[in-house]
């Protein structure tokens, strides 16, 4: 059942305009219809100039050859897309990006939910909660450049991590965390997880605090265990937040560039090459702006699939 919203516009009780000239009402009606667009025009202009035009330009570049670097570029059809989609480095970048965003999202969710539940627990006192809230949110306060430098220093073969592991007897000699193709992807994923979980935590904490206590009381009356309460009260109540956050996180993480670039540059041996670093290298190292545009359009399409699910989920809500 839907309820029609009340008309927010208060109509004047007085009579219509005193002396309506012949074309007056028509002009007034057109002006009234155009007025909202007049108010919106600065925003519309900004969106067109800063978003629509660049996107259209990139899409048009992707169908041409030698764009930007030569004055007379030629139409190349789908050649750039063929080049990109058959490039083994691009396929490796898709695989790496898939692993990176999926593992990051799942870990963000688990860590964020775990810490949020801890901060929402009645077992913790006010001071302890405040303290943990500050500690847990700390990674979110650092810029990506600082995070990259911190983890590069910690994970250096002669850095703190290896020293601690060595002191605990877990390793015999320093592990080359970032320099080894077998560990580099997991290490940058870990750094991304570390820097991103607080946003999940804060959002889920807000969601937890919005769950009515009566639901838990009713579950207790029915004899539900803590696990069943979590399963049948907490999770269903958090479902909209979890889905929104998960989809947004996949989109945001797929665009992560700075952390990868500063920690490994896509190496060693392409083991951390992501779609973002691959596209950047094409544009700013190889000056292949047309192929880079094709790669960027592929990334845009993949991101739009995620965005589609996000919008649909929001509409369902």
């Amino acid at each position: 059942m839907t309820t029609a919203p009340a008309d927010p516009i208060v109509k004047p009780e007085s009579a219509p305009p005193a002396e309506p000239a012949a074309p007056g009402p028509k002009r007034s009606s057109v002006a009234r219809r155009l007025l909202p667009f007049g108010y919106l025009s600065p925003t519309i202009v900004l969106i067109v100039v800063l978003m629509i035009v660049p996107i259209v330009m990139v899409i048009s570049y992707s169908f041409r050859d030698n764009v930007i670097v030569q004055e007379n570029s030629v139409f190349a059809g789908l050649a750039n897309y063929t080049d990109v989609l058959t490039d083994p480095d691009f396929l490796a970048a898709i695989k790496n990006t898939g692993i990176f965003i999926t593992v990051s999202m799942v870990a963000h969710l688990l860590l964020g939910l775990g810490f949020a539940m801890m901060l929402n627990s009645p077992l913790l006192g006010g001071v302890a909660k405040s303290l943990f809230r500050v500690v847990y949110v700390l990674p979110w306060l650092f810029t990506i450049a600082v995070i990259a430098v911190i983890w590069r220093l910690l994970l250096d073969p002669s850095g703190v991590v290896n020293y601690v592991l060595n002191a605990l007897g877990l390793i015999d000699q320093g592990v080359d965390w970032l320099g080894s193709p077998s560990t580099a992807l997991w290490v940058v994923t870990f750094a991304n997880i570390w820097s991103g979980y607080p946003f999940f935590m804060i959002s889920l904490l807000a969601g937890l605090q919005g769950i009515p206590g009566e639901l838990y009381e009713a579950a207790s009356v029915d004899g539900a265990s803590p696990w069943r309460k979590f399963l049948h009260v907490t999770l269903p109540q958090l479902r909209p937040v979890i889905i929104s956050m998960a989809v947004l996180d996949l989109i945001w993480t797929s665009q992560q560039f700075a952390l990868i670039w500063m920690m490994t540059g896509g190496g060693p041996l392409n083991s951390t090459e992501m779609l973002s670093t691959f596209t950047y290298k094409l544009a700013f190292s190889e000056y292949e702006f047309a192929t880079a545009s094709a790669s960027a359009v592929v990334v845009l399409l993949l991101t739009m699939i995620l965005a589609f699910f996000y919008v649909r989920q929001q509409r369902e809500r």
């Binding site: 004047p12 108010y39 930007i68 073969p157 080359d176 540059g265 190496g267 190292s285």
Partner: protein, 428 residues
């Protein structure tokens, strides 16, 4: 009430229109760089000012403005990486500032795009005597960049570690270097003989730390301007680097090591020897005043007696092709290349002047600069990546092949063959 609402709407509409006009103005506005009194304003984009002592570059530019009262210079200063990105974008859209700081690695691409002007013509038009220039970067026989200050990359050696390892002289040949590196690595405490930064984000380790060994022995990676990587000389360099790796004398983490990590490891005494920019002498001394180190020529092949190539990087200068004031822009270039101003700039930057007649003042500098200047004067500045197209990409593709060799996933011959193929597709 209705009148008030109408007034509100009218004012909102006016505000919107003004806002829109402002936005449109901001989007379409251009700057007029020539005023009615004939004064010309030049924009000069570079990364030099942030790397010089505060205000020192402004002082040099002010002196130029005093000498040329009809020319004003607006400095657009940003760090190297930002400047590069701005110039790449500006070159693509033909909106480069009038005068641009250039790295030799960018010149070929900018020249091919028609973004930077033919300076040979500007020199002829101005009647400039180019014989005083130490070098010029040319594409197809035309000069597009003039190196203003050169920074050489000698071998930095930690003398305390050398003594501790029982090595009595700074290595001068590859065999001596391997031997010294082994002995330093044997001193323990995770100390290694050499550092090799191979990070692919900024792959200049190939230029500074790998190809430098080739140039030091008079070798070349090009033949008649074409790639020549499958030669005995290049092969011997890659095999030598592999032998250093196999001997365990290279600091771990080299596949993602950056230049700053290399400097840091040398500064903290974790590494005994590195090939590094002379510009880092002050940084090393500031961060570790107790470190006892010296600079030396890069070791050459055993038995080599010719002139040693020493890698260098430059602060180059060029003029935008789209500039409406090329003659005035070249006046600024001329001023910076003048013996006096050039020597002053080189002294401030701890580099070597691009004008052959300029004499840098070492009186207040570290004695190591004088020592390095002697190495520079006795050897030959060598950097074959300067002027090549997509040079960063060339370094990166070689870097990836070298990484395969060092991780045992490829042979030296395969790596060179693959690199030759990659480079040949770029250098036509």
């Amino acid at each position: 009430m209705a009148a008030r609402s109408t007034r509100l709407r009218r004012w909102t509409a006016i505000a919107t229109a003004v806002g829109l006009a402002a936005v449109m103005g901001a989007c379409g506005g251009g700057s007029d760089d020539a005023s009615s009194d004939g004064t010309v304003t030049l924009e000069f984009a570079q990364w030099w000012a942030p790397e010089l002592p505060d205000g020192s570059f402004d002082k040099i530019i002010n002196e130029f403005q005093t000498a040329n009262p009809t020319i004003k210079v607006k400095l657009l200063s940003a760090p190297y990486a930002s400047t590069k990105q701005q110039l790449v974008t500006g070159a693509a859209s033909k909106t480069l500032p009038d005068v641009v700081g250039l790295d030799g690695a960018w010149v070929n691409d900018f020249a091919k795009q028609g973004a930077i002007a033919d300076m040979s013509k500007l020199m002829t038009d101005a009647g400039y005597d180019a014989s005083q220039l130490a070098s010029q970067v040319q594409v197809d026989g035309k000069t597009y960049m003039v190196p203003v200050v050169n920074f050489v990359y000698p071998l930095f050696v930690n003398q305390d570690l050398l003594t501790k390892a029982g090595v009595d002289k700074v290595p001068s040949t590859r065999t001596e270097f391997l031997d010294a590196a082994k002995k330093i690595s044997a001193t323990g405490d995770n100390v290694k003989g050499w550092a090799l930064p191979l990070d692919t984000a900024v792959p200049n380790g190939i230029q500074n730390d790998v190809m430098s060994w080739l140039w030091a022995s008079g070798g070349s990676m090009l033949a008649d301007g074409k790639p020549a990587l499958q030669t005995p000389q290049v092969k011997s360099v890659v095999e030598y680097v592999k032998s250093l790796n196999d001997a365990g004398v290279i600091a771990p983490g080299s596949l993602t090591m950056k230049e700053q990590d290399k400097v840091e490891k040398f500064t903290t005494g974790q590494v005994g020897m590195v090939v590094d920019s002379l510009a880092h002498i002050n940084l090393v001394k500031k961060n570790n005043p107790d470190l006892k180190f010296t600079v030396a020529p890069i070791p050459a092949e055993d038995g080599y007696t010719g002139k040693r190539g020493i890698p260098y990087a430059s602060w180059g200068i060029g003029v935008a092709n789209s500039s409406e004031h090329k003659a005035e822009a070249f006046k600024l270039v001329q001023y910076l290349m003048d013996a006096k101003a050039n020597a002053e700039l080189a002294t401030l930057a701890n580099g070597f002047p691009g004008n052959k007649t300029a004499k840098p003042d070492f009186t207040d500098s570290d004695p190591l600069f004088k020592q390095a200047f002697d190495i520079y004067s006795e050897g030959t500045p060598a950097n074959e990546f300067v002027g090549l197209p997509k040079s960063e990409d060339l370094m990166r593709s070689f870097d990836e092949q070298l990484q395969l060799v060092l991780t045992g996933k490829g042979s030296v011959d395969d790596a060179l063959a693959k690199s030759q193929e990659n480079w040949s597709s770029v250098i036509e």
